[in-house]
Symmetry: C2
Subunit: 499 residues, 2 copies
């Protein structure tokens, strides 16, 4: 069929191949190597990405079909009913900042074996799914060592490293203690935490205080200035905020987040509006509650840190999503989290099980002097914001963020629209003005992620892979599809799908 | 030509008229009454708005043609060169908040006869172009009476009204004293004013302190609570801010406005971001400068008033535009202002002359219980923000404002794009994220307004026409085209156009 026009050795450009007289063009679906022979004949080729659906696993295809049938009485019907419950719990959440405590006294194991148990004395919590010391990434190791020094369990880094490698430290994900932490996400017992209560389900969630930028523990720095700041946070900032809250009463984080979405924040990587609203809201009570010198220092700290609200946003999202946990049959995702080595997800119908895949390096705008080879793979619990419809899902609200994470303002709108294809609802409380006040896409359905191969988009900071260098960029990443396929398979096993 | 199909008295619907067999359709350009006869024959008619260009004045058409020719040496060439100077002065302005003073000591007559003269002892300044007591609108009269009571020139409203009607009060526009005030815009000698310095041209501008919402002087209320608040502003708020600024140093209002445009403000009718940023910026210094009780009250006042920044935005715009005044031949507009009866404009090439037309009622979203018949015609100096490329010109930055002023988020983008057709530049310092960071349209060219009949769009609050009722809505209005035609004619007379 292929009429070959032989090319002479002298012509650099071969003549175009043709088919029955018409110029030949080749579209190759799937394997790219199919197009290679055509290059010799200067045939224009176009490669179309394609992979067999569901990793070529027919069981997943059957399971999806079964779960998609939402007639009452069927398995799909039970999934639909369960998802309605889970989504309603997310949409009706009412996260309030109620106080400040220490991790030691505030955090108790939320579920599973040992529920209600306090944090063990030598516990160090970290971001993402479970990981042991040996496998931790650089920034997380640096943060763990810093926490050991902060707690006084060792007096220098070498001793701290020996302790970390011993079996004396209880490592566990923050998520196992109803807590979340950005980047390394390290929480040790003496650290102060924000206490957020979801008024509609009476569950609590916790997050650390944001340290600001520069040399900070969450990026693995553990020098004297880092520990000094952490001690100031524990001894001055946190008690001031606690006393302020006692006098002020609870602060409605849902309302603050909603307002910030009208002010260009997406409440993951851009928090300047929420931080400013929060500072303005608490300032009058703060100055009446603590000594002037302390109030000045606290307000300076708030002024210097446009990400101060991030940890409050994360705790509010955690409190919101935990209410949707453990609804049997539900395919709603309740956590996206990264430990810098693995990306993990948890879903409502699969309890506390993690479904993991290797963490990847985000597509980022790097700060001058840094590039992808410096970057640590995706890290931190902050993707709890995307799980809750904020961050990458709410990018339409935050066109200015493209200067920080890359892309155009049109991309920002596109991401929010795209995420609507894998979510079950729009959150009317979190309206996106540039999309004519449509609610942010909420309630990630792992079925839709697997079916559409549209992975949740995440706005994220990028850590240097060496501990303590800090943030080297910000960008966009996607949750790995394998996590969702694995979770769906596990749900199928639980509920007797494709039996 | 018109084949009439006679209709019987019995048929309700007359048969369609036709022309050479084809059904007749009528398009009427201009006068609507031309289409009336066709109604009897059920001929579909369409009315197209049209008016003779330039009010039917051929001299304006010739003048526009002359001014449009921008060859060096021609009149148009001189206009182009003058506009380049005026626009450069606007774009290079650097408005800094440098202090707080009283109107009595701070305001001096800026230009014209008596330049450098202090504010007369019994002066009351008002928004918009000049107007005498008898012609003032209700809210402005109410505010004037309140100011007379505040100054202690009368002890009750009846006495104040007699005084206002006498020749003892010196009424003048705020603009004549380098000042601006929202709505009634009333400034009396004892009132505190913000002092803004444009660092690039060393000129000063002034504005009152924003009183918040509810019963306030600027909407014509003058009861005890209004005067009490004004006294608190003069005795507590203003000195606190002055002392804070002395300690803190100047605050860059251009940078604050630029940041607020990335946070959903347009800095006329939406100032929540700028107010929050300002509050957060000054809080640390404030608490170190004034007693705790005072700091708490001041921070409470800032917390309760999302429009606090409006007056700062106005003073910054005034400082910016005054630098572009008095460039001979320039057609750049340097003030849009309304006194509630007349809309007035000033342009760079026509000195201190006002060009006025009747003020109209904005197309508004009214608060429950109110409608257009309750509304006062357009009022206030706040359109100085639009003159500077903010407000209606920057609506693309503030999609959430459509919930307040009406329309859709698409309209918000459209207004900013439309205003680019009547402006000479885009201000790179004031970027609009939803338009891919294009600068806000800046430097209104009265030639383009007259040519295109595209009138500057203004986001505005709407006052009740009775004094003291307060704000009853917010909406969109347009500057009357007649002002621009009159200004263009005056410029032509000055520069010898069409001689």
């Amino acid at each position: 069929m292929l009429e070959q026009h032989p090319t002479s050795e002298q012509t650099a450009l071969p003549r175009r191949a043709s088919l029955f007289g018409a110029p030949l063009q080749v579209v190759s679906v799937g394997l790219g190597s199919f197009t290679e022979p055509f290059g010799r004949y200067a045939v224009p080729t176009r490669q179309v990405d394609w992979q067999p659906p569901f990793g070529g696993d027919p069981k997943i295809a059957r399971l999806l079909a079964e779960l998609a049938d939402d007639q009452p009485g069927t398995l799909g019907g039970r999934v639909a009913a369960a998802n309605a419950i889970a989504v309603t719990r997310i949409l009706s959440a009412h996260p309030m900042l109620v106080g400040v405590g220490t991790a030691r006294t505030s955090l108790t194991l939320a579920s599973g074996v040992g529920a209600g148990a306090p944090l063990p004395e030598r516990a160090i919590l970290h971001a993402g799914p479970p990981i042991d010391w040996a496998r931790m990434c650089g920034p997380m190791k640096g943060a763990v060592l810093g926490a050991i020094l902060l707690e006084g369990w060792a007096t220098d880094l070498a001793e701290a490293a020996r302790l970390a490698a011993s079996r004396e430290i209880h490592f566990a994900p923050c998520h196992h203690y109803r807590a979340v932490g950005p980047m390394a996400g390290v929480i040790s017992p003496s650290m102060p935490v924000w206490v957020v209560r979801n008024e509609s389900a009476a569950n609590l969630a916790f997050a650390t205080f944001n340290e600001g930028l520069g040399k900070v523990l969450r990026y693995g720095a553990n020098g004297a200035e880092v520990l000094t700041r952490l001690r100031w946070i524990a001894e001055t900032l946190a008690p001031s905020m606690g006393a302020m809250l006692d006098r002020h009463g609870p602060i409605d984080l849902g309302a603050l987040t909603a307002q910030a979405l009208h002010m260009g924040d997406e409440c993951h990587n851009r928090n300047v509006a929420a931080t400013s609203l929060f500072a303005r809201a608490i300032a009058p009570t703060l100055v009446r509650t603590v000594p002037t010198r302390v109030a000045g220092d606290v307000l300076d700290f708030l002024l210097d840190n446009n990400h101060f609200y991030l940890n409050l946003s994360m705790a509010a999202c955690k409190a919101t999503l935990d209410a949707a946990r453990d609804v049997p049959y539900s395919t709603v995702v309740v956590a996206l989290a990264r430990n810098g080595v693995e990306f993990g997800i948890q879903t409502s119908g699969t309890g506390d099980e993690w479904f993991t895949a290797p963490s990847t390096v985000p597509d980022a705008l790097f700060f001058p002097g840094y590039g992808p080879t410096d970057a640590n793979p995706d890290l931190g619990d902050s993707a709890i914001t995307e799980t809750c419809g904020l961050g990458g899902f709410a990018m339409a609200a935050a066109p200015a963020i493209v200067r920080f994470v890359g892309g155009t303002t049109r991309d920002a709108l596109r991401y929010s629209r795209e995420m609507a294809t894998i979510t079950l609802a729009r959150n009317p409380s979190y309206a996106l003005p540039p999309l004519d006040f449509a609610g942010t896409p909420t309630g990630i359905d792992m079925r839709r992620v697997v079916e559409t191969r549209v992975a949740p988009v995440i706005n994220t900071g990028v850590a240097h892979r060496e501990p303590g260098v800090g943030q080297i960029g910000a960008g966009i990443t996607r949750a790995p599809l394998e996590c969702f396929v694995a979770a769906l398979r596990a749900l199928g096993d639980r509920v007797g799908g494709t039996q």
